[in-house]
Homo-oligomer: 199 residues x 2
């Protein structure tokens, strides 16, 4: 369409980004070509580095290029003894911004969804079980999304904790039902944390 | 913010794209990491190829990875004898989609704007003068944007053509004053082309 195969390939490639359609993709391609080739090359390199080198933290499963993420490699966070279970790495970022939580995380990278083939192993609950057995866990805070799947996943994990006699709580009021955790403002999340109840 | 330097670099790099703020950039980064690393690597490669290899057509100045663009290397387009002058490569795409024009283009890559240091040489009018002198030009169609700068640029080019006794026309009704050519629908552009008048 642009009469340049390289530009056409770039426009098609931009459409893999969320919320980017044909017209936005074309604007992005020409904007970089016309005004910011250095920025385009930096983005190319950053994409390559991230796609090739980002893996999962061995302890909490969040994205990291190291064996352990920045939180799991901080002894004071481990010693705290609380584990907050979330569905995605973006949820970790959102909770960290509230400055309310001093423990570590466990990132499910999804939720239980048998219809999509997401069982306990797919969301890392074998690794989580090891942490419950080996670490000195004081409390597990269930911060999965307040959706049907998130609630079911929280319930399943609370049963695992109960077998180990570990206290579990669920983040509570302030989180609108049906909402997605990563879009909630820090203030609301702070309330949800301080108002958590036994599960 | 994400506790991974590589992810933070990727989020910052995405913000060089038009219309992409901090939150969109974060969504783009995690969307690729979670669901489409292959797409991310393809985008990285496409960006690299385009930023490094796209240059300007020697004859019309539009973006191309070849010496001549696909239109300028088509003998029947050259033989047509009409040259359509536009401000940007996106304008070429928009006009081609109307299927109304069978000649070649001249892409200014901007417009006259002395305050920004954009004089006749910066918009390639030395190259354009050569085409007027050397090629068998039948008509120059001025399709710069209907803005103050676009009109002034069209006026300047029409004076150049007058000196060579070459007919100049300006695309006309249908293009809303103050609008940007690349956002206009094909039907309106078709009307603007067929209704062009002497300049
Ligand atoms: Zn970790
Ligand atoms: Zn050309």
């Amino acid at each position: 369409m642009s009469f340049s195969p390289l530009i056409d390939e770039l426009v098609v490639a931009f459409k893999c980004l969320p919320g980017v359609g044909a017209k936005s993709a074309q604007r992005m391609a020409f904007s970089l070509l016309e005004r910011n080739r250095e920025g385009g090359l930096k983005l190319s390199q950053a994409l390559h580095n991230a796609m090739e080198h980002i893996s999962n933290c061995e302890q909490c499963r969040t994205f990291t290029e190291s064996k352990l993420c920045g939180i799991c490699s901080n002894p004071s966070r481990i010693d705290n003894g609380d584990i907050c279970v979330v569905e995605s790495p973006q949820d970790v970022i959102a909770i960290e911004q509230t400055l309310q939580f001093k423990g570590t995380y466990f990132v499910l990278m999804g939720h239980l969804s048998p219809i999509d083939g997401m069982g306990p192993a797919e969301i890392g609950l074998d690794v989580f079980q090891q942490r419950l057995t080996q670490d000195a866990v004081k409390e597990v805070i269930l911060a999965t999304n307040p959706t049907v799947e998130g609630e079911a996943t929280a319930h399943y994990i609370s049963q695992m904790c109960k077998k180990q006699n570990i206290k579990t709580t669920r983040i509570a009021h302030g989180v609108p039902v049906g909402g997605e955790l990563e879009y909630i403002d820090g203030n609301t999340l702070t309330h949800a944390f301080t108002g958590r109840r036994d599960f």
